[in-house]
Symmetry: C2
Subunit: 302 residues, 2 copies
């Protein structure tokens, strides 16, 4: 049995990645959700994305949401941007932690942004320069890192090559996205094996979807390899665009529940996170796929 | 990273443990489900239980179900019995693999059968003798091995003591039941650590519920400790009696999907198991909590 980390940093992505994949909700609701999350003790929140409102109407009010949200200084907030226009908006709003995305799968990248992976990598190099000039830090999220719904398996060496490239271009952080829940512990081991030694100095974050039930197993596999940063979405907000009705992001309260029982600290108040999940469920008006929201933590006795 | 087993034996428990925790379904449907499962390549099926029809109406037709089911010789079938009357019925029906249950939690055992754990262990000693005399093999399932919804944590030493006792009384096999999904990888490690060395010669089977999302993570933790036998329920049939709407057993197709991608053989045809899960969903008339049923395996591309 491998030793496990003593603590883990969770980034809550429900307000952005979660709500972006749900039917649009009112600005008020978004602000309430961010404020509830900010009070849970979570250290990081992906708050909004600055994308074109016609492309993603769910984020059309990003500026207002961000302006109205409480921003306690102990929480680090980040925003996702697709291009230089979005980057300028994020900087103007005061964000200093910015995420950009590229898909390891060429097909997936073309479907998403009508450009090849190589073209997007050129765009990202320019974005990193722009954002660094403004004093911001940049995380590159590599989508479909564990498999692509169009192409199937993605060679870990391809993902590692993208890491090499964006690191050379100045990326401050790397995230590996399991965009449609194709990851398994074997894929986690293979991908981390391919990148860990070459990039021991860069913070790596893993972003799992629970589409096929493997979310927490993948996190366990990553913990055993020393990974200490994970994305999670309150209540499991955010479905899977390729499989209507299927689960999306791992639910934050499920991740926290498992980690705490394993003696791994997160700084998060689990009961407060479960309350935030209940709020998220109320906001989107559909049953969210979180077992801990449904059944309560294991410590809640009959 | 720990080496993992090359193959795993799954016991399909949907027809018994699953359907026993759903609203009653017609005899025809049960036979269809068992027959579909028998054709998937799964090596073992828990087919029925011989319990009092007033206590568990879902199993009132156990004799007829078993009589009508196809029984290809490559599948091993088992039945669960609560007492000597049930044991006699199971033997008369031709079963040679029998399961009996006791809860590690005294409170849970009293709620289930109105007897203390110690009293049930005396009953089980007599049942083992009766069944051995008839040439059957006996598995003792220790429920609430990873926590009790009434008492909370269960000391692994208490579970280990129960193993000592039933082994001394002749139990041929031991199963640890995570009856209400309170297990986490930490609990798996602790329990196996407490029993493995003392009982290296007895087959151990783990039975997880996915009530709080940890089902596959627990299986991964157990695989890393060399466990090669798991229960699973097609489609995730069987809810959680303590949390209405919550998930019950781990879904067989989710377990098989993860294992196969990790290069661990099960002998099961995953697509056939997914078809059986669709049949299970049709039979119970409610949406089952299986991600692989919903989204398909990772190899099924858009």
């Amino acid at each position: 049995m491998e030793p496990l980390p003593e603590s883990v940093s969770i980034r809550e992505v429900g307000p952005r990645d979660g709500l972006q994949n749900e039917d649009p909700v009112p600005t008020d609701a978004k602000v309430r959700l961010i404020d509830a999350l900010s009070a849970t003790g979570v250290g990081r929140i992906e708050a909004v994305s600055f994308v074109h409102p016609k492309a993603i109407p769910q984020m059309a009010d990003a500026d207002e949401v961000w302006q109205r949200a409480a921003k306690p200084p102990r929480v680090r907030y980040s925003a996702l941007v697709p291009n230089s226009r979005g980057a300028q908006r994020a900087l103007a709003a005061g964000f200093t932690e910015i995420e950009v995305v590229v898909s390891a799968s060429d097909t997936h990248n073309r479907r998403n942004v009508n450009r090849s992976t190589a073209e997007s990598l050129d765009d990202i190099a320019a974005l990193i320069a722009l954002l660094h000039d403004a004093g911001a830090r940049v995380e590159v999220i590599i989508a479909t890192s564990f498999g692509c719904p169009y192409e199937g398996d993605i060679d870990p060496a391809r993902v590692a090559g993208i890491v090499d490239r964006v690191r050379a271009d100045g990326a401050d952080r790397i995230a590996f996205g399991d965009t449609t829940g194709m990851g398994t512990p074997r894929r986690v081991r293979e991908l981390l094996g391919a990148v860990r030694d070459r990039h021991a100095d860069v913070p790596l974050l893993l972003h799992f979807h629970n589409t096929r039930g493997t979310g927490l197993a993948n996190i366990l596999a990553a913990l055993e390899l020393g990974v200490t940063e994970f994305d999670a979405s309150v209540g499991g907000l955010g479905g899977c665009p390729y499989a209507p009705g299927a689960s999306g992001n791992v639910a934050t309260e499920e991740v926290v529940h498992m980690l705490h029982d394993m003696g791994i600290a997160t700084g998060i108040d689990l009961e407060a996170m479960i309350e935030a999940a209940a709020l998220a469920e109320e906001i989107v008006g559909r049953r969210l796929p979180s077992g801990v929201l449904r059944a309560g933590p294991r410590t809640r006795l009959v």
